[in-house]
């Protein structure tokens, strides 16, 4: 059974023990220090640490950032060795995915650390959270790593339809925030049901969670699939612990969260929000968006505010839409095409994807690319598909480049398909929502496609695996 964490604090302790968390003990300024350190951590790549700021000018509490921001931290989140390769993490995630659904465990209020302190008068978010501007041109202070819990107004008791999602949040007052609910998001479906009746949509916003819950909050799953039951699956079958929200009896929140903000989306109200530096590495401008009034806060004693930096990829947010984008696509294609070996859709939420497959007959590489481009996520998001042979690791970009360099004959292996769906946030999509697709088939031709210059691949010398082990041990 894999190691699991009952909350953010336990995970931070493991990160520190593994040399994957650093403490900044000197006082820092909210701006620009916290954002700049998040960017700097992202620049370190491979084993970048989480950063815990212990003293922030003018504030009581602590901030932690870059908690998910490296493959080492991602592996530790899953209870794996911190040097587990991306491909190993992909296959482990695939294995656990099949354990869905794992029913959550509901604990009593007195057993839930997130209820240690209650604030329901004179609410002031700045007293609880050390808020700060993430990027220079952001329109205010943003909460970038919240797990927002909301119910289905037409079916409030249905746990499967209870949504846990990550949406950007702009602080507009001490008890008032803006929230982005794009029409394609599950929360927008729920909001529409409420707004048609001119009713408030209650929300509970969980900050500072078990890292798997945050990971699931940013995973694209079906509207009637439960993020909490998936989190139990990804915890290798260990249920998540939940507790009822105080003001909305039908909502459940992670019992160990650092902070729970409870409130409601004001029906039929939209106010100016943004700009905000977004995941494609550019700002999204000001729009009129939803508003949440906060009327109740619970929090652990001395809460830690967990937030993330996002900028030109890769930054922490890219680790939260990497393997959790790849796995659902892999599952959907594998169903009909068992030759599929692995799928890497980690670049800008799957805009570029690499498929590794064995080819059963001529043209198979292109065919499997079309299959990816017809999945619900791949149709709007994926625009460039690279297909490689089964022995090429799609997570090893040097190998992928080798496959393109040595296998591709551009006049027959590159296909351009105009006038297809696109993703509006992709700045190259024009008009927003339309795009061209490109397939690069870097597989070796198989019959009936002719292969006039077949090759004999180099094999690793005998004993290579043994030597890999020896060298790994010597490096520890």
């Amino acid at each position: 059974m894999a190691k699991v964490y009952e909350g953010l604090r336990e995970f931070l302790q493991t990160l520190e023990e593994e040399g994957q968390l650093v403490r900044i003990k000197d006082e820092v300024m909210p701006e620009p220090d916290i954002g700049a350190a998040g960017r700097a951590a992202a620049n370190m790549k491979g084993n970048a640490p989480a950063i815990l700021f212990e003293k922030i000018k003018g504030y009581k509490g602590k901030v932690v950032t870059n908690v998910h921001g490296s493959w080492a931290n991602h592996a530790l989140m899953m209870g794996m060795q911190k040097d587990a390769t991306t491909k190993e993490q992909f296959f482990e995630l695939n294995r656990r995915w099949d354990k869905y659904p794992v029913e959550p465990e509901v604990v009593a209020r007195e057993d839930a650390p997130c209820k240690e302190n209650v604030v329901d008068e004179n609410i002031n978010l700045f007293e609880v959270l050390p808020l700060y501007r993430i990027n220079d041109q952001d329109g205010g202070f943003f909460i970038s790593k919240a797990s927002v819990v909301s119910g289905e107004p037409d079916d409030p008791e249905n746990l499967d339809k209870m949504n846990v999602g990550t949406y950007r949040i702009q602080v507009k007052d001490v008890d008032r925030i803006g929230i982005q609910a794009l029409a394609m998001h599950d929360i927008a479906v729920q909001l529409e049901q409420a707004e048609r009746k001119n009713e408030k949509l209650r929300v509970a916003i969980a900050l500072g969670n078990d890292p798997i819950i945050t990971f699931m909050a940013s995973t694209p799953i079906a509207h009637d699939q439960s993020e909490y039951k998936f989190a139990g699956a990804l915890r290798d079958g260990v249920p998540v612990k939940l507790v009822k929200a105080d003001k909305a009896e039908h909502l459940y929140v992670p019992a160990s969260a650092e902070v729970i903000l409870e409130g409601y989306i004001e029906p039929r109200v939209r106010e100016c929000e943004g700009p905000f530096g977004e995941f494609p590495g550019s700002y999204s401008g000001a729009r009129n968006q939803c508003v949440v009034k906060i009327d109740h806060i619970t929090h652990r004693t001395d809460p830690i505010f967990e937030n993330l930096y996002l900028g030109i990829p890769w930054t922490e947010i890219d680790y939260l839409m990497a393997l959790n984008t790849s796995v659902p696509l892999y599952k959907q294609i594998k169903e009909g095409f068992p030759e599929l070996v692995a799928l890497n859709a980690m670049y800008m939420h799957g805009h570029v994807a690499i498929i590794s497959t064995k080819c059963r007959y001529g043209g198979y590489g292109k065919g499997i690319a079309f299959r990816l481009l017809s999945t619900p996520h791949g149709m709007p998001y994926t625009k460039v598909v690279i297909v490689v042979d089964e022995y090429v690791d799609p997570f090893n970009l040097e190998q992928v480049m080798w496959a393109i360099a040595s296998r591709v004959k551009p006049d027959k292996d590159v296909a351009i398909i105009p006038n297809c769906p696109g993703m509006p946030l992709d700045p190259s999509s024009n008009p927003a929502g339309m795009h061209t697709k490109m397939i690069i088939d870097a597989t070796t031709p198989v019959a009936p496609e002719p292969n006039p210059r077949s090759v004999e691949l180099l094999e690793p010398p005998v004993g290579t695996e043994k030597w890999e082990e020896i060298l790994r041990d010597l490096m520890k």
């Binding site: 529409e192 001119n198 100016c272 009129n288």
Partner: protein, 68 residues
């Protein structure tokens, strides 16, 4: 105090630092831009707004009709 983004004069102090007298945060009541007294806001021209343009910004998500 003038909003650095939309030039509205309708701004206010949103909050003072919870510890010490270190800073204040200001907010514009027209466009909701906010900034801390320790910052020197430099809003790029592309992000400046005119108050009269705000009602015409894209609405996300669209407001549905009321049920009859």
């Amino acid at each position: 105090m003038t909003c650095p983004r939309c030039n509205s004069e309708d701004t206010r102090v949103m909050v003072k630092s919870p510890v010490g007298d270190e800073w204040e945060v200001y907010v514009c009541n027209t466009c909701y831009y906010s900034w801390r007294s320790t910052e020197t806001p430099d809003v790029h021209d592309v992000f400046k707004l005119k108050p009269e343009d705000i009602p015409n910004l894209q609405v996300i998500p669209p407001v549905p009709p009321l049920d009859k």
